[in-house]
Amino acid sequence: MKAIHKRDIAVDESESRVLLPRTRRRRRRLSSVERTLATIVWRTERAFYAEELARADGLLQHLDPRVKVCGLLLLLLDAALARNLPTIICVFAVALALALLSRVPLRTLAARAWLGAFLFTALIALPALFITPGRAAMRLPLLGWPLTEQGIQSALYLVARVETAVTLSLLLVLCTPWTHVLKALSSLGVPVVFVVILGMTYRYVFLLLQTAREMFESRQSRTVGALDGPTGRRLAAASAGVLLARTFQLSGEVYLAMQSRGFRGEVYTLDDFQMRRRDWLALAAFLLAAVALFWLGRRGFAPPSI
């Protein structure tokens, strides 16, 4: 059987003939549809991986979710409040130790949090090295631009704080199933309506992601060559419109299903968390660490000059 060449498919379609040479380039730029697909797949994979890791056998996984949420938030606050670099690095070290004890692979943290956050923040902080007013520490060899001490310090603050915060919030997600995070929120006083909306949203995010993926995949499989800009935009808007209409229909159906199961607007959650000795110990350790780091972070702090 003669192998079908792409050129054979597209002989009569002038649009495709114009576009075909592009697809033959060795490194073709991804089309917007492919990029959207990649994002959707990446997000879904990431969420599934988190759910899997949350069932692993580690320190944080064994703790009561309420203790975990409180403890990690306190550490996050410490990192945000610290007014000197060593304290932020201490918080980062604590986060790192927690990750290792919870069997979160450092490679995962590096790939999912550190690298992206570093590149993004470093890019933002780069001009600050030069334009922050202060004492010049050194000059760039060729251009002669001064790097100020304050600028370097400020860039370090930003990068250290961002990396620490990203690590801590990733730890919470990687070591706690989402349902537990929600339950912890409701037992910590967040209004139940919000918690239920969050829970349902999370559940339907995956359904809609799947729907969107199927829509884009089917479109992609019917497309030869690349789409031009206006067509790509029309496609994105039309897909959003279709999803919107489906969502509306779905929300009606879900509501009817809920009603037929006796839903009358009130929401109850099953709260079966039990604080054990280990949890109390962990809570005490978190509190101790948080207070110590807070104290450390405020040392050497001078009020802003007025």
């Binding site: 000197n84 930003l158 990203v166 909306i197 949203t201 559940r203 959003a240 419109g241 919107l244």
Partner: protein
């Protein structure tokens, strides 16, 4: 636009949480009244939808691509209040679960994108589309402008939030502790990116969805127009009722205005001609301008034009008041009163023009 943790000081974050809270409260109450027991499934599904739309990759003119937030669509289809809740929930899931935007900065992100974005989008859309038929091109244009304006308003808020950080939060040596750029850098940097690229993504998706729904499912476009008719009724019955927390928040902000006295020096670029001859003021201008000495004389144009208009309350303190803090408070009351009066008048004019009032 999603502000991560570490860029804003905890104090700023707390203030922005507090600023967003009354909007969440009002929004939830309004939406509950409208949707009753439907509130949970409807809001959940639309929050999930906003989350998914935030992932759509849109090709932009010039070969780049961008992401939209979907706040324009949410505000137009669901109305501003439901949109505030759905976008906030989507942002929270993004922050907690996917690391887009910080946990401590969630209040700030919600205020910028969910609250300001929704209110601006819905206001602009209503203003421009007026009573145009559902299938008209005018509605598509209105949607485009609404999406574009909403994103840029949100970006402006984010820029201001970044820009005030170095002024208030720095260590003993003067190194900024959080976002390092002053207002003069942060605001243009945020706006240039959004006026050109991110704003276009939101513009295209908002207009595109409205145009698509006009062709296929115009009933969805009618949802909010009917809802607004109801809510306008409710609002007319009692201007105090549901908006009470907003009025209280406004009052709290007014009372806090003397905080402005804490700010050192003059805002960059807001100098008067006399500042150029005062040695202390000259030193402050120089230190705020990267150690560039200001010109010896006040610029001739500034000198000439500064006499054109003299404000009745120079520096927010009417001359007859001795206490600076009280003067600030009075100025705030006066200013806010003027703004409210202006909008009440505008509302009355608009109603008269439509022949409703």
């Amino acid at each position: 636009m999603h502000i991560p943790d570490g860029y804003l000081s905890p104090e700023t974050c707390a203030a922005l949480y507090a600023a967003a809270a009354p909007f969440w409260y009002v929004a939830l109450r309004r939406v509950r009244r409208m949707l009753n027991t439907r509130v949970v499934p409807t809001l959940s599904l639309f929050a999930a939808l906003s989350f998914v739309i935030m992932m759509f990759n849109l090709p932009l003119p010039g070969g780049t691509t961008g992401h939209a937030i979907g706040v324009g669509i949410a505000a137009i289809i669901l109305g501003p209040w439901a949109s505030i809740i759905t976008i906030s929930v989507a942002l929270l899931i993004q922050a907690v679960f996917f690391g887009d935007g910080g946990v401590t900065a969630f209040g700030a992100n919600s205020l910028n994108m969910a609250v300001v974005g929704s209110l601006v989008a819905s206001g602009v859309y209503r203003l421009l589309s007026a009573r145009a038929p559902l299938g008209s091109t005018r509605r598509v244009v209105a949607a485009a402008v609404a999406g574009y304006a909403a994103i840029n308003a949100a970006a402006l808020c984010a820029g201001v939030e970044f820009g005030i950080q170095p002024r208030f939060f720095h260590d003993a040596a003067g190194a900024p502790l959080y976002a390092p750029y002053p207002l003069s850098v942060a605001v243009p940097a945020m706006l240039i990116g959004h006026l050109t690229l991110a704003g276009l993504a939101e513009m295209f998706i908002t207009a595109g969805v409205v145009a698509y729904l006009q062709r296929t499912d115009s009933a969805l476009l009618r949802l909010n127009t009917r809802a607004t008719a109801n809510s306008v009724e409710v609002a007319r019955q009692s201007i105090w009722g549901a908006a009470r927390p907003l009025w209280l928040a406004l009052a709290a902000l007014l009372i806090l205005t003397p905080l402005g006295l804490l700010a050192a020096g003059t805002a960059w670029g807001e100098w008067g001609p006399q500042d150029f001859s005062d040695a202390q003021a000259r030193a402050r201008i120089a230190s705020a301008s990267g150690n560039q000495a200001p010109p010896a004389q006040a610029p001739a144009g500034l000198e000439r034009l500064s006499h054109l208009w003299s404000a009745p309350m120079p520096d927010y303190a009417p001359p007859f008041l001795k206490s600076a803090a009280f003067g600030y408070l009075m100025s705030a009351l006066f200013g806010a009163g003027l703004v409210i009066l202006f909008f009440l008048l505008l509302g009355r004019l608009a109603r008269a023009a439509r022949g409703v009032g």
